[in-house]
């Protein structure tokens, strides 16, 4: 696959904003290009492509989103938390991959969601009352959005147009196949925030960018000696759950995973 260009693939499938490939070709294509550029994965070197494809942490594959859905999600989260001169944004942080994994897994299927009927709209105090699981909610809403925008897909809009469209979803009043648009927007925003700030083991917050941006040190376990040094500036780099060897699966069967 290494010699198939991204543009070729998009033409072949008719998709815009297709699944992120393990290598980048055309910087003008979609927001997903930015991810590739940022990670400096080289084109079209066979070795580089293989390295990317073999490392799902670096170049995850979409498990839930289809190409059209991915196109919208990538472009939308890039507006919700944009890259700026100092810090990467949601795209660079891998937020689309985080959302994809969540929707493909237990959360998407309705984990911790009471799902018995009868169903009826409630008051705001009663909270979420739709039968949709998160996966069903995203799929249903995204299909209507992409149909509505078929003339000018979201990914081809200018940033200002994209912001206006997102604000129209946020404001509500639009029916997305039974999903009120403000409900879809709230799910999208909450998922984006989760993907930006959660531990990188879930696929977002790459390079712990959000933690470095705000100064959150991550999964450190102790500040006993620091808590009464009032106002100090903590300079150490943040730490992910992944950096604690106790949590790892050991390849060598002679090394128990539960050490020490």
């Amino acid at each position: 696959m290494a010699d198939i260009s991204r543009r070729t693939l998009i033409k072949a499938t008719g998709a815009v904003g297709a699944t992120v490939l393990p290598f980048a070709v055309d910087a003008n294509e979609t927001p997903s290009q930015a991810l590739n550029e940022h990670n400096q994965v080289r084109t079209p070197s066979i070795a580089g492509a293989n390295a990317g494809a073999g490392d799902p942490q670096r170049q995850p594959t979409y498990l839930f989103f289809n190409a059209e859905e991915a196109g919208f999600i990538e472009a939308a989260v890039a507006r919700l938390i944009p890259k700026d001169e100092q810090w990467d944004g949601a795209i660079e942080a891998g937020v689309p991959s985080y959302i994809d994994k969540q929707l493909a897994g237990a959360w998407g299927a309705g984990e911790r969601l009471y799902r018995s009927g009868p169903w009826q709209p409630g008051t705001p105090s009663q909270g979420y009352q739709l039968p949709f699981t998160p996966a069903e909610l995203f799929r249903t809403a995204l299909r209507v959005i992409n149909q509505e925008l078929s003339a000018t897909p979201f990914v081809q809009m200018s940033p200002d147009q994209q912001d206006s469209y997102l604000k129209s979803l946020e404001a509500g009043g639009k029916d997305l196949g039974g999903v009120p648009s403000q409900v879809f927007f709230a799910h999208l925003w909450q998922s984006t925030v989760e993907g930006f700030f959660s531990d990188p083991v879930y696929g977002g917050n790459r390079n712990m960018v959000s933690w470095r941006m705000i100064g959150f040190p991550g999964a450190y376990a102790s500040y006993y000696s620091l808590v009464d040094r009032h106002g100090i500036k903590l300079e150490r780099a943040p730490m992910s759950l992944a950096e604690d060897a106790h949590g790892h699966i050991h390849v060598d069967a002679a090394i128990p995973a539960t050490s020490p």
């Binding site: 938390i81 705001p124 105090s125 999964a219 376990a221 006993y224």
Partner: protein, 592 residues
Amino acid sequence: MAQRLKPVDAVTIGVGLTGSLAAHELTQAGLKVVGLERGAARFTVPDFQSPAIHDELRFSIRKGMMQDNTKVAVTFRNNSDETALPIRRWESFLPGQGLGGSFVHWNGQSFRAQVADFVYRTHLLQRYGKKFLDSCGPELTVQDWGVTYDELESHYDRFEQLIGVCGKAGNIKGRIEPGGNPFEAPRSREYPNPPMKETYFGAIFRKAVDNLGYHPYPQPSSNLSRPYTNPLGLKLNACVFCGFCERYACEHYAKGSPQTAILPVLLKNPNYELRANCEVLRINLDSTGKKATGVTYVDGAGREFEQPAEIVFVTAFPLNNVRTLLLSGVGKPYDPRTGEGVVGRNYTYQTTGGPTVFMDESINVNPFMSSGAPGTMIDDFGGDNFDHSNLGFIGGQYVGSIMTGGRPIEFHPTPPGTPAWGLEWKRAVARHYNHTISVQQHGTSAPSRLNYLDLDPTYKDAWGQPLLRMTFDFPENDIRMSQYIADKTVEIGRAMGGKIVTRGGTKRPYTTTVYQSTHNCGGAVMGDDPKTSAVNRYQQCWDVPNVFSLGGSSFPQNITYNYSVTIGALTLWSLEAIKKQYLKSPGAMVQA
């Protein structure tokens, strides 16, 4: 058909704080006890260890330690005119599940109630008169507890020793102690352990309230300030301020909990048997309806059992206690139209909220260096610590700077007016994250004849039984109270040096969509009168004297403070009476 098991002396429905504590007392007295826990057995090692325990997404956001609401949820409505619908995701309150219950994921904020709290109605009538109380809301059903602070003091003391509470006494036998809370009820002695180190946000709050003439004190904590061996010989460690406490279990043996303070002894006692993954369906009554014969439960594999027992202890989360009594026909259900009946009556909550104080960029707050009870606080506006004569409300709140961590999915404050997303939002988050202090208001919830718990007519659990239905909104009294204190708290925020200070306080309608507190209270309240209480002063059911319903469900109304330590003291109080009186002569300990 249920398989009938060998009878035992006592069974507890739930093995959290009250269930493990009651079982410990009973097994020590020689009784054979079975503990039925609907969740899994779980222990500090290996279940609560790092790195997995420091996972904000799993535990804070996905509610990893909470009651499985896909099996048993709660339905909710703001008032009786609405149709209650299931709370499909936990947000406002978070009942725990699994061995140790909610006392595993609690924060360890460890207060005693005040003297007046236990005789609240009597106290208010004496100080302000009936006309005043009626003017606060004719719907209010404030009442006394049937037990006094003096009767509970030794049990408070014993419970604090058990879990190793840290603090500075403010009142020892009536003598006001410098550095402590001068509004504190009189204690027989100092706390078992000294206060925790003061955080930076605590120190900033202390300076501000000192200047305003208030009375700051260190929040009593069951995150330990030093290594401690409790009276059962169990060793607890000093808390290291990891910032993952509320909604998490402690990996360090540093938080008072059943796992650290009770269970290692209880589980070794040959008189005790823990059965995890067992869902109790009902308490069984004999043909008279006046005596319980045991319980029926379903194990994890779906097999149904009948466990005969001489005494049944209802020791689940308060909402689940009330539901168990209703499902079993123990006590008359409350009817809001007539005001008659007691089970479900006087359900109360907690008034919370407070300002966000945005500080200068030079102030590194470091909110992630924290424990579950890191506050510096004041009680000047707590309970009835201030004159209410001209205020038109009863009750009060403590105010404190209590930041239980800086976990960023939950905590990324931006000042009012900041766009909800986009570049400006992102820059505001980066600017304010480490330079913002949360100040907490936390206080009383007045009971109302309009607020109650009953069984839902429509929605069912995984076993086909009705869910509990909650009908609740904050009485106007509580809004007036909390908004009065919100004004005072904004002044404190400004005195702290806040460049921007938002305004807190409780608002109507109550919503289930925002976390407020897991201090759900009442519904099976204690008292002296069987017409207005489900249990007597020993938390013994009036109608079925071999059933005891222990815990927060017994509070006639909610107090200023976090309720766990008072629940512990009430449990020990009841168990002492059971050992001294009930076991020698089973039957009603108080004549109706």
